[in-house]
Homo-oligomer: 102 residues x 2
DNA sequence: CGGCATCCGCGAGGATACTG
DNA sequence: CAGTATCCTCGCGGATGCCG
């Protein structure tokens, strides 16, 4: 077995999906609170900046872990939820959660 | 559910264990190659510096994911392996690996 | 309200040399 | 051989302000 296998392996891809200081907290929160608005999410997660929150949400959307729902009122309303893929990742993370709590 | 739950939850602890640019590669490698010497490990993982390798190995030893075996010859020989805890984490990571490869 | 655009600080990680 | 000791780089994330 060679090291190069790690590059491009599924584990690396999965870790890239959840990488970033705030990405796991965001996923963790969405796992327990579906369909939440941007500013509510921003208030619920203390000390994160809007910039970083927007960045990470875009990233999570790109890798298809969350989905975005937009209501064209004024002001606009944007809701975020875990996708099906995101939920199945959440199940794996909850196994990790159990592992870490002992 | 409140955000503060994330701080101190098992998931955060588990992610801290595997945090760091090189920690997952090291675990991944040890998962497939038991009982390997420091310099061999260093050669097998391209471009990592000895400093960082030593740092991460110490960290992994502190959180009890790997174990160290030292032979007092000259020059000294040091072998690293996954601990039992490390192997069970490895099993979880292989689930993540499957997740990431689709 | 839900973001971008800028600027900036800090600390993980890299390069290199040295040691028991 | 198996690490330390120093110094340095670079990019993630923080702070603030603006816009449709």
């Amino acid at each position: 077995m060679k090291y190069e296998d790690f590059e491009g392996c599924g584990l690396k891809k999965a870790l890239d999906m959840i990488s970033g200081k705030w990405t796991p907290p965001i996923l963790y929160f969405l796992f327990n609170n579906q369909d939440i608005r941007f500013n509510d999410l921003w208030r619920e997660i203390p000390r994160i900046s809007k910039k970083v929150l927007a960045e990470r949400l875009k990233h999570l959307e790109n890798v298809d872990l969350i989905s975005k729902r937009k209501v064209d009122s004024f002001p606009v309303e944007v809701y975020y939820s875990l996708s099906e893929k995101g939920k199945s990742l959440g199940d794996i993370l909850s196994v990790l959660d159990k592992f870490g709590s002992k």
